[in-house]
């Protein structure tokens, strides 16, 4: 059978095909594939320092691109502002159930103010073990709104970067029809390339996340007659709140 866990035979065939079809001369690479640990680390420090120092500019650059990508973007000053933004959204959508991640940007908001005068359930999806994982999963699937923080945002493409970890469940920003992403100052990077250099360093440091989504606007499809429809499998209504 040609299925091999031991890759030798497969790789051997590839190796001889590589040699046979070589057009002559070695092709040069422009990939920064072999960049050293030190050089990557230096680049990442300067990227992160920029994100911190120039956060205001980063917000300004991100804002219009994110809007074009289909996010509802808003600048907010803090938790009170965020609640004030969410409340009319909840009322308008007839929301009954909200799920949130356990990320710091989210957990530091006291949602009990919303609970006070609206009939709502708010569930934090975490792995503290207080609720069974299967139960948490159903709650994420049944929710009307998912509220998450971000790992980073990217100004070039209007993107929120969400990675799975012990604070961030995969379904919160995916299953509910409305997604609200909270972006803090210092989290915005200039370009896609900045993010991927950070990934390279995380790989060196053995803390590369297993799973990441770059989210740029609502779920969409143009599979029928080239006509754009939003909210196919993911959220059709997405909000990006820039805090600070």
């Amino acid at each position: 059978m040609g299925i091999v866990r031991n890759s030798n035979k497969f790789i051997e065939r590839v190796r001889s095909a590589v040699a046979e079809g070589k057009a002559g001369g070695d092709s040069i690479t422009e990939s920064s594939f072999s960049e050293s640990n030190d050089s990557v680390r230096k680049r990442v420090s300067s990227i992160l320092a920029d994100a911190e120092l120039a956060w205001e500019t980063m917000f300004e650059n991100l804002y219009p691109v994110a809007e074009t990508a289909g996010w509802h973007v808003s600048r907010v000053s803090g938790p009170e502002d965020i609640l004030a933004y969410i409340e009319p959204l909840v009322v308008k959508a007839g929301t009954k159930k909200i799920v949130t991640t356990a990320q710091k940007a989210v957990s530091e908001i006291d949602f009990s103010h919303l609970l006070g005068h609206l009939e709502l359930s708010i569930t934090e999806i975490n792995n503290t073990g207080n609720t069974a994982p299967s139960d948490l999963r159903s709650r994420a699937i049944d929710a009307d709104i998912g509220i998450t923080g971000v790992e980073y945002a990217i100004a070039e493409t209007g993107t929120c970067v969400l990675s799975a970890d012990d604070e961030t469940g995969r379904l919160v920003g995916l299953a509910p029809p409305i997604h609200i992403a909270l972006v803090k100052r210092g989290q915005v990077l200039s370009t896609l390339d900045d993010l991927f250099v950070i990934r390279k360093l995380q790989f060196f440091d053995e803390n590369l996340p297993a799973y990441t989504n770059l989210i740029s606007g609502p779920s969409r499809s143009a599979d029928i007659e080239y006509t754009l429809v939003t909210g196919v499998h993911g959220p059709g209504d997405v909000h990006m709140l820039l805090i600070g």
């Binding site: 299925i3 866990r5 890759s7 975490n126 770059l214």
Partner: protein, 483 residues
Amino acid sequence: MRASTQYFKQKSTETLHDLKIQENLAGLYPGFHEARIKASSDTEDWDQLKERGRRIKAHTLDHLDYYLELLEKNVTNAGGVVVFADTAKDASEYVTKLAKSRGVKSVVKSKSMLSEEMSLNHHLEIQGIEPIETDLGEYIVQLAGETPYHIIAPAIHKSSEEVAALFSEKIGTEPTLGIEDLTEVARKQLREKFISADMGITGGNFMVADTGTLALVTNEGNGRMCTSMPRIHVAIVGMEKVIPSITDLGLFLRLLIRSATGQWISSYVTTVSGPKRSKDIDGPEEFHLVIVDNGRSRILADPVLRESLYCLRCGACLNACPVYRKVGGHSYGWVYPGPIGAVISPMLTGLSRGKDLPFASTLCGSCKEACPVKIDIPKMLLYLRNQLSEGTHYRSERTSGLLERAISMFCGRLLGSQNATAKAVKFLGKVLKIFPKRIFPFLQGWTRFRDLPEIPEQSFIERWRDSRHIDNVDGGDDGNSEK
């Protein structure tokens, strides 16, 4: 998928006469094609990006063995299982066996052209496992019992009325639903499937060697669902999809997405580096990466055709191609249609069977111009035409007979001599004036679809000589006098 590339002429003729499909295909040009032109012209240094992408691809394929081994090491270290499959059949066998051994009853699938190569759905079904396509276009195509029509827009040949009728027949919805309602129906139907499926199967747009990362480009969110909900994630990817470094990914995302749909970036880019980490809240417990050859090493071994493996599967060459836009996707008879399909489908499924595909091109060069990694498709089509008639590289698959080659050689000699050609053509012109064209059965291959032009009394060379003669009398200097 069984290749039916030998029916190109018949199927393309049918499509040309199908006014409904012609109407649906007409949207490709103002749709994807013009969006691509806008997005690429909005990108700073687009030409340099293309050149860089091309060079990185060339380099990677020149060292493919090295990068595949590195990829295998890094995915394995991250807790994933890497499997190398020689053929599509082997890959299907691995996936179905895995599904059976894990007690999988249903599988949700994100769009994958390679799974079409494998006829994976068929193989799962005969093992009693339900495969569900979750990309909207693929879902439509699966319900209709068809195959994808376009690399990135599988159901683009169907109007919304046809989709509404299909849903009504298969799901029992109202037959008059509009596009938004149809999408909502699909969302509800498929949401249940995501929740209950035990396995998610995806393709992969890129495999990053230096971090062991799979990258998926999607818009609907079904790719995210397939990689989040089920307890097992299987990715099936052609071996040519490797790129060296995660730091190259930004470049390739820009090239792919802007060429495919003309979006600045797709709604989602998902990266997977192994199964869920132990601390993670949720995610698949198993991650299997199936890397497939299925004839690709044959292309890799050919110095002229190797660059067809640079292909990012963006579909830009389809949208740019005046032939694809008329004959549509099914005419090509296999998984990959359009200009790039005319190169790789015959190579992967048999040259002699697909002998008409390299000729399904006007060689206008639009495909090469549209390609984000500048693949010289016209050059490869000419090369394949040559191999089919008189080349020696694939001698056993050559389709020309001895008589045909002898006639070609004779005609070649004839065309080499101006005088003899002119005399022969004039003679033919006289014969054609006396007898109707249809009495020459050997010309019918040409004249059935085209008009044979009238042959003039005077040949071009004779007219040229005469005009030079007149110029010289007027005192002109080679008919090219300077002012």
